[in-house]
Symmetry: C2
Subunit: 303 residues, 2 copies
Protein backbone atom coordinates (compact mmCIF):
# COMPACT_ATOMS: atom_id res chain seq x y z
CA UNK A 1 0.00 0.00 0.00
CA UNK A 2 2.39 2.65 1.22
CA UNK A 3 -0.38 5.24 1.46
CA UNK A 4 -1.36 5.12 5.11
CA UNK A 5 -1.84 8.42 6.86
CA UNK A 6 1.34 9.39 8.68
CA UNK A 7 3.97 7.27 10.36
CA UNK A 8 3.09 4.57 12.90
CA UNK A 9 3.25 5.37 16.62
CA UNK A 10 6.42 4.27 18.44
CA UNK A 11 6.62 0.51 18.80
CA UNK A 12 4.20 -0.23 15.98
CA UNK A 13 5.16 -1.75 12.65
CA UNK A 14 2.92 -0.96 9.71
CA UNK A 15 3.49 -1.63 6.05
CA UNK A 16 6.49 -3.52 4.71
CA UNK A 17 7.00 -6.66 6.76
CA UNK A 18 5.18 -10.01 6.74
CA UNK A 19 2.75 -8.70 9.34
CA UNK A 20 1.89 -5.43 11.06
CA UNK A 21 2.29 -4.95 14.81
CA UNK A 22 -0.21 -2.59 16.46
CA UNK A 23 -1.26 -1.89 20.03
CA UNK A 24 -5.04 -1.65 20.34
CA UNK A 25 -6.63 -0.73 23.67
CA UNK A 26 -7.12 -3.79 25.86
CA UNK A 27 -10.57 -5.33 25.95
CA UNK A 28 -12.90 -6.52 23.21
CA UNK A 29 -11.68 -6.20 19.64
CA UNK A 30 -14.13 -5.73 16.77
CA UNK A 31 -13.32 -7.34 13.42
CA UNK A 32 -15.05 -6.86 10.07
CA UNK A 33 -14.28 -7.47 6.42
CA UNK A 34 -15.86 -6.45 3.16
CA UNK A 35 -14.92 -6.60 -0.50
CA UNK A 36 -15.93 -4.67 -3.56
CA UNK A 37 -15.46 -5.88 -7.13
CA UNK A 38 -15.27 -3.86 -10.32
CA UNK A 39 -18.28 -4.70 -12.50
CA UNK A 40 -20.24 -5.89 -9.46
CA UNK A 41 -20.16 -3.07 -6.92
CA UNK A 42 -19.51 -0.37 -9.48
CA UNK A 43 -19.35 0.10 -13.21
CA UNK A 44 -15.76 1.10 -13.94
CA UNK A 45 -16.96 2.80 -17.13
CA UNK A 46 -18.89 5.25 -14.93
CA UNK A 47 -16.78 5.57 -11.78
CA UNK A 48 -13.05 5.56 -11.13
CA UNK A 49 -10.71 3.06 -9.55
CA UNK A 50 -10.22 5.63 -6.79
CA UNK A 51 -13.97 5.46 -6.15
CA UNK A 52 -13.74 1.66 -5.91
CA UNK A 53 -10.89 1.97 -3.41
CA UNK A 54 -12.90 4.48 -1.38
CA UNK A 55 -15.94 2.21 -1.42
CA UNK A 56 -13.94 -0.85 -0.32
CA UNK A 57 -12.49 0.81 2.75
CA UNK A 58 -15.74 2.62 3.56
CA UNK A 59 -17.86 -0.53 3.35
CA UNK A 60 -15.59 -2.36 5.81
CA UNK A 61 -15.34 0.61 8.18
CA UNK A 62 -19.13 0.93 8.03
CA UNK A 63 -19.46 -2.63 9.36
CA UNK A 64 -17.35 -1.60 12.37
CA UNK A 65 -19.58 1.43 12.90
CA UNK A 66 -22.70 -0.71 12.61
CA UNK A 67 -22.01 -2.31 15.99
CA UNK A 68 -21.17 1.07 17.52
CA UNK A 69 -17.41 0.66 17.40
CA UNK A 70 -14.63 2.98 16.24
CA UNK A 71 -12.26 1.69 13.52
CA UNK A 72 -8.61 1.28 14.45
CA UNK A 73 -6.60 -0.34 11.64
CA UNK A 74 -7.20 -1.61 8.13
CA UNK A 75 -5.61 -4.32 6.01
CA UNK A 76 -6.20 -3.88 2.28
CA UNK A 77 -5.78 -6.40 -0.52
CA UNK A 78 -5.89 -5.40 -4.17
CA UNK A 79 -6.47 -7.93 -6.93
CA UNK A 80 -5.77 -6.25 -10.25
CA UNK A 81 -5.57 -7.20 -13.92
CA UNK A 82 -2.30 -6.46 -15.71
CA UNK A 83 -1.97 -2.74 -16.41
CA UNK A 84 -4.59 -1.61 -13.89
CA UNK A 85 -3.80 1.67 -12.16
CA UNK A 86 -3.06 0.41 -8.65
CA UNK A 87 -1.99 3.92 -7.64
CA UNK A 88 -5.45 5.25 -8.32
CA UNK A 89 -7.04 2.42 -6.32
CA UNK A 90 -4.65 3.23 -3.48
CA UNK A 91 -5.48 6.93 -3.72
CA UNK A 92 -9.14 6.21 -3.07
CA UNK A 93 -8.26 3.91 -0.18
CA UNK A 94 -5.96 6.54 1.30
CA UNK A 95 -8.63 9.24 1.00
CA UNK A 96 -11.17 7.06 2.80
CA UNK A 97 -8.54 6.03 5.35
CA UNK A 98 -7.92 9.69 6.17
CA UNK A 99 -11.65 10.49 6.19
CA UNK A 100 -12.54 7.70 8.63
CA UNK A 101 -9.39 7.96 10.75
CA UNK A 102 -8.45 4.36 10.02
CA UNK A 103 -4.83 3.93 8.89
CA UNK A 104 -3.93 1.15 6.48
CA UNK A 105 -1.28 -0.89 8.30
CA UNK A 106 -0.78 -3.76 5.85
CA UNK A 107 -1.87 -5.20 2.57
CA UNK A 108 -1.29 -7.40 -0.38
CA UNK A 109 -1.38 -6.93 -4.14
CA UNK A 110 -1.99 -9.83 -6.46
CA UNK A 111 -2.88 -10.43 -10.08
CA UNK A 112 -6.43 -11.32 -11.10
CA UNK A 113 -8.85 -10.87 -13.96
CA UNK A 114 -11.16 -8.60 -11.94
CA UNK A 115 -10.37 -5.57 -9.84
CA UNK A 116 -11.09 -6.55 -6.23
CA UNK A 117 -10.57 -4.43 -3.11
CA UNK A 118 -10.84 -6.61 -0.01
CA UNK A 119 -10.57 -4.80 3.31
CA UNK A 120 -10.40 -6.07 6.88
CA UNK A 121 -10.75 -3.58 9.73
CA UNK A 122 -10.24 -3.81 13.49
CA UNK A 123 -12.20 -1.62 15.86
CA UNK A 124 -12.72 -0.80 19.50
CA UNK A 125 -15.75 -0.15 21.69
CA UNK A 126 -14.98 3.03 23.62
CA UNK A 127 -16.89 3.11 26.90
CA UNK A 128 -18.66 0.36 28.80
CA UNK A 129 -21.68 -0.18 26.54
CA UNK A 130 -21.61 -3.49 24.65
CA UNK A 131 -21.62 -3.88 20.89
CA UNK A 132 -25.01 -3.37 19.27
CA UNK A 133 -25.97 -6.49 17.34
CA UNK A 134 -28.71 -7.27 14.86
CA UNK A 135 -30.37 -9.55 17.36
CA UNK A 136 -31.34 -7.17 20.16
CA UNK A 137 -34.50 -5.47 18.86
CA UNK A 138 -37.48 -5.84 21.22
CA UNK A 139 -41.20 -5.34 20.69
CA UNK A 140 -42.07 -1.69 21.20
CA UNK A 141 -38.65 -0.40 20.13
CA UNK A 142 -38.61 2.60 17.87
CA UNK A 143 -36.90 2.26 14.48
CA UNK A 144 -34.73 5.01 13.03
CA UNK A 145 -32.49 5.53 10.07
CA UNK A 146 -29.63 8.01 10.07
CA UNK A 147 -30.60 9.60 6.76
CA UNK A 148 -32.80 9.41 3.68
CA UNK A 149 -32.25 6.38 1.48
CA UNK A 150 -31.79 5.49 -2.17
CA UNK A 151 -29.17 8.08 -3.09
CA UNK A 152 -26.54 5.54 -4.14
CA UNK A 153 -28.89 3.63 -6.45
CA UNK A 154 -30.26 6.88 -7.84
CA UNK A 155 -26.69 8.05 -8.37
CA UNK A 156 -25.91 4.98 -10.43
CA UNK A 157 -29.04 5.65 -12.48
CA UNK A 158 -27.97 9.25 -13.05
CA UNK A 159 -24.45 8.20 -14.04
CA UNK A 160 -25.85 5.74 -16.55
CA UNK A 161 -28.21 8.24 -18.17
CA UNK A 162 -27.11 11.80 -17.39
CA UNK A 163 -29.94 14.30 -17.77
CA UNK A 164 -29.43 16.88 -20.48
CA UNK A 165 -28.82 20.25 -18.86
CA UNK A 166 -30.42 23.38 -20.30
CA UNK A 167 -28.58 26.71 -20.09
CA UNK A 168 -29.11 28.22 -16.66
CA UNK A 169 -30.80 25.07 -15.34
CA UNK A 170 -28.69 24.36 -12.27
CA UNK A 171 -31.06 22.77 -9.80
CA UNK A 172 -31.63 19.27 -11.12
CA UNK A 173 -28.00 18.96 -12.21
CA UNK A 174 -26.88 19.81 -8.68
CA UNK A 175 -29.14 17.10 -7.34
CA UNK A 176 -27.76 14.74 -9.96
CA UNK A 177 -24.22 15.62 -8.95
CA UNK A 178 -25.04 14.90 -5.33
CA UNK A 179 -26.61 11.56 -6.18
CA UNK A 180 -23.62 10.57 -8.30
CA UNK A 181 -21.32 11.55 -5.44
CA UNK A 182 -23.39 9.41 -3.07
CA UNK A 183 -22.84 6.45 -5.38
CA UNK A 184 -19.15 7.13 -5.93
CA UNK A 185 -18.15 8.12 -2.40
CA UNK A 186 -20.51 6.72 0.24
CA UNK A 187 -20.32 7.86 3.85
CA UNK A 188 -19.77 5.58 6.85
CA UNK A 189 -21.94 6.76 9.76
CA UNK A 190 -19.31 6.23 12.44
CA UNK A 191 -20.20 8.99 14.89
CA UNK A 192 -23.86 8.03 14.57
CA UNK A 193 -23.08 4.39 15.39
CA UNK A 194 -21.13 5.31 18.51
CA UNK A 195 -23.83 7.77 19.63
CA UNK A 196 -26.57 5.18 19.10
CA UNK A 197 -24.68 2.55 21.12
CA UNK A 198 -24.08 4.94 23.99
CA UNK A 199 -27.76 6.00 23.84
CA UNK A 200 -28.87 2.43 24.43
CA UNK A 201 -29.64 1.20 20.92
CA UNK A 202 -30.89 -2.39 21.10
CA UNK A 203 -30.11 -3.41 17.50
CA UNK A 204 -28.28 -1.88 14.59
CA UNK A 205 -27.21 -2.67 10.99
CA UNK A 206 -25.69 -0.64 8.21
CA UNK A 207 -27.97 -0.50 5.19
CA UNK A 208 -25.61 -1.93 2.62
CA UNK A 209 -28.08 -4.05 0.67
CA UNK A 210 -31.23 -1.93 0.98
CA UNK A 211 -33.56 -1.01 3.86
CA UNK A 212 -35.99 -3.79 3.06
CA UNK A 213 -33.64 -6.77 3.19
CA UNK A 214 -31.50 -5.32 5.97
CA UNK A 215 -34.58 -4.63 8.13
CA UNK A 216 -35.77 -8.19 7.51
CA UNK A 217 -32.32 -9.37 8.67
CA UNK A 218 -32.63 -7.46 11.94
CA UNK A 219 -36.17 -8.79 12.44
CA UNK A 220 -35.02 -12.35 11.70
CA UNK A 221 -32.06 -12.12 14.09
CA UNK A 222 -34.20 -10.54 16.82
CA UNK A 223 -37.27 -12.74 16.34
CA UNK A 224 -39.56 -9.75 15.94
CA UNK A 225 -41.79 -8.03 13.40
CA UNK A 226 -42.11 -4.38 12.42
CA UNK A 227 -44.54 -1.77 11.20
CA UNK A 228 -43.04 1.06 9.17
CA UNK A 229 -45.07 4.22 8.66
CA UNK A 230 -42.45 6.35 6.96
CA UNK A 231 -39.89 5.82 4.21
CA UNK A 232 -37.35 8.65 3.96
CA UNK A 233 -36.44 8.88 0.28
CA UNK A 234 -33.35 10.87 -0.72
CA UNK A 235 -33.98 13.90 -2.94
CA UNK A 236 -33.96 12.72 -6.54
CA UNK A 237 -34.35 9.04 -5.63
CA UNK A 238 -37.49 6.94 -5.99
CA UNK A 239 -39.15 4.65 -3.44
CA UNK A 240 -37.81 1.45 -5.00
CA UNK A 241 -34.29 2.81 -4.76
CA UNK A 242 -34.82 3.74 -1.12
CA UNK A 243 -36.18 0.28 -0.30
CA UNK A 244 -33.88 -1.94 -2.31
CA UNK A 245 -31.11 0.13 -3.79
CA UNK A 246 -28.34 -0.70 -1.37
CA UNK A 247 -24.97 0.88 -0.64
CA UNK A 248 -26.41 3.85 1.23
CA UNK A 249 -24.55 2.78 4.40
CA UNK A 250 -27.00 4.72 6.57
CA UNK A 251 -27.59 2.97 9.89
CA UNK A 252 -30.87 1.34 10.87
CA UNK A 253 -31.27 1.66 14.64
CA UNK A 254 -33.72 0.12 17.11
CA UNK A 255 -34.03 1.83 20.47
CA UNK A 256 -36.50 1.70 23.33
CA UNK A 257 -36.17 5.36 24.29
CA UNK A 258 -36.27 7.60 21.20
CA UNK A 259 -35.74 10.82 23.14
CA UNK A 260 -32.37 9.61 24.45
CA UNK A 261 -31.28 8.75 20.93
CA UNK A 262 -32.41 12.09 19.54
CA UNK A 263 -30.68 13.95 22.37
CA UNK A 264 -27.45 12.00 21.87
CA UNK A 265 -27.43 12.85 18.17
CA UNK A 266 -28.10 16.52 18.94
CA UNK A 267 -25.37 16.60 21.59
CA UNK A 268 -22.93 15.18 19.03
CA UNK A 269 -24.04 17.75 16.44
CA UNK A 270 -25.28 14.96 14.18
CA UNK A 271 -28.16 15.15 11.73
CA UNK A 272 -31.33 14.11 13.62
CA UNK A 273 -32.23 10.44 13.20
CA UNK A 274 -35.38 9.80 11.17
CA UNK A 275 -38.15 7.76 12.79
CA UNK A 276 -39.56 5.16 10.42
CA UNK A 277 -41.71 2.86 12.59
CA UNK A 278 -41.86 0.41 15.49
CA UNK A 279 -40.78 -3.11 16.33
CA UNK A 280 -43.63 -5.55 17.01
CA UNK A 281 -43.77 -8.90 18.76
CA UNK A 282 -45.12 -10.92 15.84
CA UNK A 283 -42.20 -12.11 13.68
CA UNK A 284 -44.58 -12.65 10.75
CA UNK A 285 -45.64 -9.00 10.77
CA UNK A 286 -43.39 -7.10 8.35
CA UNK A 287 -45.35 -4.06 7.18
CA UNK A 288 -44.78 -0.75 5.42
CA UNK A 289 -47.85 1.51 5.50
CA UNK A 290 -49.94 -1.58 6.22
CA UNK A 291 -48.68 -3.64 3.29
CA UNK A 292 -46.19 -6.52 3.50
CA UNK A 293 -42.65 -5.34 2.90
CA UNK A 294 -41.05 -7.60 0.32
CA UNK A 295 -37.68 -9.14 1.19
CA UNK A 296 -35.93 -7.58 -1.76
CA UNK A 297 -32.47 -6.19 -1.79
CA UNK A 298 -29.60 -5.28 -3.92
CA UNK A 299 -28.37 -8.20 -5.95
CA UNK A 300 -24.68 -7.25 -5.94
CA UNK A 301 -24.56 -7.09 -9.69
CA UNK A 302 -24.12 -4.09 -11.92
CA UNK A 303 -25.48 -3.88 -15.44
Amino acid sequence: MGRASGPPPPGEIWIGDDAAIVTPPSGPLVLATDAVVGGVHCDLALTGLDDLGWKGLTAAVSDIGAVGARPLHALVTFCVPPGADVGRLADGVAQASAEWGCPVVGGDVTAAGDVVVSVAVTGVLDGPEPAVLRSGARPGDHLFVTGPLGASAAGLRVLRAPARRLPGDRGPADVSDQLAASHRRPTARLAEGVAARRAGATAMIDISDGLSIDLHRVADASGVGFRLDRLPVAAGAIRAEALGGGEDYELLIAVSDPETLERAFADAALRPPLAIGRVTGDPSERLLDGDPLPRTGWEHRIG
Copy 2:
Protein backbone atom coordinates in the same frame (compact mmCIF):
# COMPACT_ATOMS: atom_id res chain seq x y z
CA MET B 1 -18.70 -18.74 6.30
CA GLY B 2 -20.42 -20.80 8.99
CA ARG B 3 -17.55 -23.30 9.10
CA ALA B 4 -15.45 -22.10 12.01
CA SER B 5 -14.29 -24.71 14.47
CA GLY B 6 -16.68 -24.86 17.41
CA PRO B 7 -18.74 -22.17 19.09
CA PRO B 8 -17.22 -18.86 20.23
CA PRO B 9 -16.14 -18.45 23.86
CA PRO B 10 -18.61 -16.66 26.16
CA GLY B 11 -18.88 -12.97 25.37
CA GLU B 12 -17.52 -13.29 21.84
CA ILE B 13 -19.59 -12.85 18.69
CA TRP B 14 -18.40 -14.66 15.61
CA ILE B 15 -20.11 -15.13 12.30
CA GLY B 16 -23.50 -13.60 11.47
CA ASP B 17 -23.48 -9.95 12.48
CA ASP B 18 -21.96 -6.90 10.83
CA ALA B 19 -18.74 -7.44 12.77
CA ALA B 20 -17.19 -10.03 15.06
CA ILE B 21 -16.35 -9.30 18.70
CA VAL B 22 -13.34 -11.14 20.11
CA THR B 23 -11.15 -10.74 23.18
CA PRO B 24 -7.47 -11.07 22.32
CA PRO B 25 -4.85 -10.97 25.07
CA SER B 26 -3.84 -7.40 25.91
CA GLY B 27 -0.64 -6.10 24.39
CA PRO B 28 0.62 -5.96 20.82
CA LEU B 29 -1.66 -7.34 18.13
CA VAL B 30 -0.24 -8.82 14.93
CA LEU B 31 -2.17 -8.30 11.67
CA ALA B 32 -1.58 -9.90 8.30
CA THR B 33 -3.50 -10.42 5.09
CA ASP B 34 -3.00 -12.52 2.00
CA ALA B 35 -5.07 -13.46 -1.02
CA VAL B 36 -4.99 -16.32 -3.48
CA VAL B 37 -6.64 -16.27 -6.89
CA GLY B 38 -7.75 -19.17 -9.06
CA GLY B 39 -5.64 -19.22 -12.22
CA VAL B 40 -2.88 -17.23 -10.52
CA HIS B 41 -1.99 -19.11 -7.34
CA CYS B 42 -3.29 -22.43 -8.56
CA ASP B 43 -4.62 -24.03 -11.70
CA LEU B 44 -8.18 -25.03 -10.87
CA ALA B 45 -7.99 -27.69 -13.56
CA LEU B 46 -5.32 -29.42 -11.44
CA THR B 47 -6.28 -28.63 -7.86
CA GLY B 48 -9.60 -28.22 -6.10
CA LEU B 49 -11.45 -25.24 -4.72
CA ASP B 50 -10.88 -26.78 -1.29
CA ASP B 51 -7.14 -26.61 -1.98
CA LEU B 52 -7.47 -22.92 -2.88
CA GLY B 53 -9.35 -22.29 0.36
CA TRP B 54 -6.66 -24.13 2.32
CA LYS B 55 -3.93 -22.14 0.61
CA GLY B 56 -5.63 -18.80 1.27
CA LEU B 57 -5.93 -19.34 4.98
CA THR B 58 -2.51 -20.97 5.24
CA ALA B 59 -0.73 -18.15 3.39
CA ALA B 60 -2.18 -15.54 5.74
CA VAL B 61 -1.50 -17.59 8.87
CA SER B 62 2.05 -18.13 7.62
CA ASP B 63 2.59 -14.36 7.58
CA ILE B 64 1.61 -14.27 11.26
CA GLY B 65 4.06 -17.10 11.98
CA ALA B 66 6.80 -15.33 10.05
CA VAL B 67 7.15 -12.70 12.78
CA GLY B 68 7.03 -15.38 15.48
CA ALA B 69 3.40 -14.84 16.45
CA ARG B 70 0.53 -17.25 17.04
CA PRO B 71 -2.65 -16.77 14.97
CA LEU B 72 -5.83 -15.89 16.84
CA HIS B 73 -8.72 -15.14 14.48
CA ALA B 74 -9.33 -15.07 10.73
CA LEU B 75 -11.67 -13.07 8.50
CA VAL B 76 -12.28 -14.70 5.11
CA THR B 77 -13.71 -13.17 1.94
CA PHE B 78 -14.71 -15.28 -1.03
CA CYS B 79 -15.18 -13.78 -4.48
CA VAL B 80 -16.82 -16.38 -6.68
CA PRO B 81 -18.24 -16.61 -10.20
CA PRO B 82 -21.86 -17.71 -10.52
CA GLY B 83 -22.20 -21.44 -9.87
CA ALA B 84 -18.86 -21.86 -8.10
CA ASP B 85 -18.88 -24.38 -5.27
CA VAL B 86 -18.52 -22.04 -2.29
CA GLY B 87 -19.03 -24.98 0.06
CA ARG B 88 -15.90 -26.66 -1.25
CA LEU B 89 -13.91 -23.42 -0.86
CA ALA B 90 -15.22 -23.16 2.70
CA ASP B 91 -14.31 -26.79 3.39
CA GLY B 92 -10.67 -26.09 2.56
CA VAL B 93 -10.68 -22.96 4.70
CA ALA B 94 -12.26 -24.88 7.59
CA GLN B 95 -9.68 -27.66 7.33
CA ALA B 96 -6.82 -25.17 7.43
CA SER B 97 -8.55 -23.25 10.22
CA ALA B 98 -8.67 -26.43 12.31
CA GLU B 99 -5.10 -27.39 11.39
CA TRP B 100 -3.63 -24.02 12.40
CA GLY B 101 -5.91 -23.43 15.38
CA CYS B 102 -7.22 -20.20 13.90
CA PRO B 103 -11.03 -19.95 13.92
CA VAL B 104 -12.81 -18.02 11.19
CA VAL B 105 -14.85 -15.38 13.01
CA GLY B 106 -16.25 -13.42 10.08
CA GLY B 107 -16.33 -13.11 6.35
CA ASP B 108 -17.96 -11.95 3.20
CA VAL B 109 -19.05 -13.58 -0.04
CA THR B 110 -19.39 -11.58 -3.23
CA ALA B 111 -19.73 -12.21 -6.94
CA ALA B 112 -16.74 -11.89 -9.25
CA GLY B 113 -15.34 -13.35 -12.44
CA ASP B 114 -12.39 -14.99 -10.67
CA VAL B 115 -12.31 -17.15 -7.59
CA VAL B 116 -10.53 -15.12 -4.90
CA VAL B 117 -9.90 -16.11 -1.29
CA SER B 118 -8.78 -13.08 0.72
CA VAL B 119 -7.87 -13.74 4.35
CA ALA B 120 -6.95 -11.40 7.20
CA VAL B 121 -5.57 -12.88 10.40
CA THR B 122 -4.87 -11.47 13.85
CA GLY B 123 -2.14 -12.90 16.03
CA VAL B 124 -0.43 -12.55 19.38
CA LEU B 125 3.17 -12.64 20.55
CA ASP B 126 3.24 -15.00 23.52
CA GLY B 127 6.09 -14.15 25.86
CA PRO B 128 8.22 -11.04 26.13
CA GLU B 129 10.33 -11.39 22.98
CA PRO B 130 9.48 -8.83 20.28
CA ALA B 131 8.26 -9.67 16.80
CA VAL B 132 10.97 -10.83 14.41
CA LEU B 133 11.08 -8.53 11.40
CA ARG B 134 12.85 -8.72 8.07
CA SER B 135 15.10 -5.86 9.04
CA GLY B 136 17.03 -7.29 11.98
CA ALA B 137 19.70 -9.47 10.34
CA ARG B 138 23.25 -8.53 11.38
CA PRO B 139 26.62 -9.36 9.87
CA GLY B 140 27.80 -12.70 11.19
CA ASP B 141 24.31 -14.08 11.74
CA HIS B 142 23.69 -17.65 10.67
CA LEU B 143 20.99 -18.30 8.08
CA PHE B 144 18.63 -21.26 8.36
CA VAL B 145 15.57 -22.56 6.58
CA THR B 146 13.00 -24.76 8.29
CA GLY B 147 12.96 -27.37 5.53
CA PRO B 148 14.02 -28.26 2.00
CA LEU B 149 12.63 -26.06 -0.74
CA GLY B 150 10.98 -26.33 -4.13
CA ALA B 151 8.35 -28.93 -3.28
CA SER B 152 5.38 -26.73 -4.19
CA ALA B 153 6.76 -25.76 -7.60
CA ALA B 154 7.78 -29.36 -8.27
CA GLY B 155 4.31 -30.45 -7.22
CA LEU B 156 2.74 -28.14 -9.77
CA ARG B 157 5.09 -29.58 -12.41
CA VAL B 158 4.07 -33.11 -11.43
CA LEU B 159 0.37 -32.25 -11.52
CA ARG B 160 0.75 -30.79 -14.99
CA ALA B 161 2.58 -33.80 -16.41
CA PRO B 162 1.98 -36.85 -14.25
CA ALA B 163 4.65 -39.52 -14.71
CA ARG B 164 3.40 -42.78 -16.13
CA ARG B 165 3.52 -45.41 -13.43
CA LEU B 166 4.69 -48.92 -14.25
CA PRO B 167 3.17 -51.92 -12.45
CA GLY B 168 4.90 -52.33 -9.08
CA ASP B 169 6.74 -49.02 -9.43
CA ARG B 170 5.73 -47.31 -6.20
CA GLY B 171 8.71 -45.17 -5.26
CA PRO B 172 8.68 -42.26 -7.68
CA ALA B 173 4.89 -42.08 -7.62
CA ASP B 174 5.00 -41.71 -3.84
CA VAL B 175 7.43 -38.83 -4.24
CA SER B 176 5.16 -37.33 -6.87
CA ASP B 177 2.18 -37.65 -4.56
CA GLN B 178 4.09 -35.89 -1.82
CA LEU B 179 5.13 -33.08 -4.14
CA ALA B 180 1.56 -32.66 -5.38
CA ALA B 181 0.36 -32.56 -1.77
CA SER B 182 2.97 -29.89 -1.01
CA HIS B 183 1.56 -27.78 -3.82
CA ARG B 184 -2.09 -28.41 -2.91
CA ARG B 185 -1.84 -28.19 0.87
CA PRO B 186 1.16 -26.16 2.03
CA THR B 187 2.21 -26.09 5.69
CA ALA B 188 2.52 -22.95 7.82
CA ARG B 189 5.57 -23.27 10.09
CA LEU B 190 3.91 -21.77 13.15
CA ALA B 191 5.69 -23.66 15.93
CA GLU B 192 8.99 -23.04 14.16
CA GLY B 193 8.33 -19.31 14.01
CA VAL B 194 7.53 -19.09 17.70
CA ALA B 195 10.57 -21.22 18.62
CA ALA B 196 12.84 -19.07 16.45
CA ARG B 197 11.57 -15.85 18.03
CA ARG B 198 12.04 -17.18 21.54
CA ALA B 199 15.52 -18.43 20.57
CA GLY B 200 16.58 -14.92 19.60
CA ALA B 201 16.11 -14.89 15.84
CA THR B 202 17.16 -11.50 14.47
CA ALA B 203 15.23 -11.61 11.19
CA MET B 204 12.65 -13.89 9.64
CA ILE B 205 10.44 -14.23 6.55
CA ASP B 206 8.22 -16.95 5.18
CA ILE B 207 9.40 -18.14 1.80
CA SER B 208 6.28 -17.47 -0.19
CA ASP B 209 7.86 -16.19 -3.40
CA GLY B 210 11.07 -18.28 -3.46
CA LEU B 211 14.23 -18.37 -1.36
CA SER B 212 16.12 -16.10 -3.72
CA ILE B 213 13.78 -13.11 -3.78
CA ASP B 214 12.73 -13.50 -0.16
CA LEU B 215 16.37 -13.64 1.00
CA HIS B 216 17.11 -10.52 -1.05
CA ARG B 217 14.15 -8.87 0.71
CA VAL B 218 15.61 -9.66 4.14
CA ALA B 219 19.03 -8.43 3.03
CA ASP B 220 17.52 -5.23 1.62
CA ALA B 221 15.50 -4.54 4.77
CA SER B 222 18.49 -5.30 7.02
CA GLY B 223 21.11 -3.51 4.91
CA VAL B 224 23.32 -6.60 4.75
CA GLY B 225 24.69 -9.15 2.32
CA PHE B 226 24.88 -12.92 2.48
CA ARG B 227 26.92 -15.91 1.44
CA LEU B 228 25.01 -19.15 0.99
CA ASP B 229 26.93 -22.40 0.89
CA ARG B 230 24.05 -24.82 0.88
CA LEU B 231 20.70 -25.05 -0.93
CA PRO B 232 18.37 -27.68 0.56
CA VAL B 233 16.34 -29.03 -2.38
CA ALA B 234 13.21 -31.06 -1.65
CA ALA B 235 13.26 -34.66 -2.88
CA GLY B 236 12.01 -34.67 -6.46
CA ALA B 237 12.48 -30.93 -6.94
CA ILE B 238 15.23 -29.20 -8.92
CA ARG B 239 17.48 -26.32 -7.89
CA ALA B 240 15.55 -23.70 -9.87
CA GLU B 241 12.36 -24.74 -8.09
CA ALA B 242 14.11 -24.50 -4.71
CA LEU B 243 15.45 -21.02 -5.50
CA GLY B 244 12.50 -19.44 -7.25
CA GLY B 245 9.52 -21.74 -7.03
CA GLY B 246 7.65 -20.02 -4.26
CA GLU B 247 4.78 -21.12 -2.03
CA ASP B 248 6.89 -23.43 0.12
CA TYR B 249 6.10 -21.32 3.21
CA GLU B 250 9.22 -22.60 4.97
CA LEU B 251 10.75 -19.93 7.20
CA LEU B 252 14.07 -18.24 6.50
CA ILE B 253 15.69 -17.40 9.84
CA ALA B 254 18.71 -15.28 10.77
CA VAL B 255 20.16 -15.87 14.22
CA SER B 256 23.40 -14.97 15.95
CA ASP B 257 23.60 -18.12 18.07
CA PRO B 258 22.83 -21.22 15.98
CA GLU B 259 23.11 -23.65 18.91
CA THR B 260 20.29 -21.91 20.78
CA LEU B 261 18.06 -22.14 17.70
CA GLU B 262 18.88 -25.81 17.15
CA ARG B 263 18.25 -26.59 20.83
CA ALA B 264 14.92 -24.71 20.80
CA PHE B 265 13.78 -26.68 17.76
CA ALA B 266 14.86 -29.95 19.38
CA ASP B 267 13.13 -29.06 22.66
CA ALA B 268 9.92 -28.38 20.73
CA ALA B 269 10.29 -31.69 18.84
CA LEU B 270 10.58 -29.81 15.55
CA ARG B 271 12.52 -30.91 12.48
CA PRO B 272 16.07 -29.49 12.83
CA PRO B 273 16.61 -26.21 11.01
CA LEU B 274 18.89 -26.41 7.99
CA ALA B 275 21.93 -24.12 7.91
CA ILE B 276 22.36 -22.46 4.52
CA GLY B 277 24.95 -19.72 5.04
CA ARG B 278 25.88 -16.51 6.82
CA VAL B 279 24.95 -12.84 6.81
CA THR B 280 27.73 -10.46 5.74
CA GLY B 281 28.25 -6.74 6.21
CA ASP B 282 28.49 -5.83 2.52
CA PRO B 283 24.97 -5.19 1.16
CA SER B 284 26.24 -5.74 -2.39
CA GLU B 285 27.44 -9.25 -1.58
CA ARG B 286 24.62 -11.68 -2.42
CA LEU B 287 26.27 -15.04 -3.13
CA LEU B 288 25.34 -18.70 -3.48
CA ASP B 289 28.39 -20.97 -3.69
CA GLY B 290 30.44 -17.92 -4.68
CA ASP B 291 28.19 -16.83 -7.55
CA PRO B 292 25.75 -13.91 -7.47
CA LEU B 293 22.26 -15.04 -6.49
CA PRO B 294 19.79 -13.60 -9.00
CA ARG B 295 16.83 -11.70 -7.63
CA THR B 296 14.31 -14.01 -9.20
CA GLY B 297 11.10 -15.16 -7.68
CA TRP B 298 7.75 -16.53 -8.37
CA GLU B 299 5.78 -14.34 -10.72
CA HIS B 300 2.34 -15.05 -9.23
CA ARG B 301 1.06 -16.39 -12.49
CA ILE B 302 0.10 -19.92 -13.39
CA GLY B 303 0.40 -21.27 -16.92
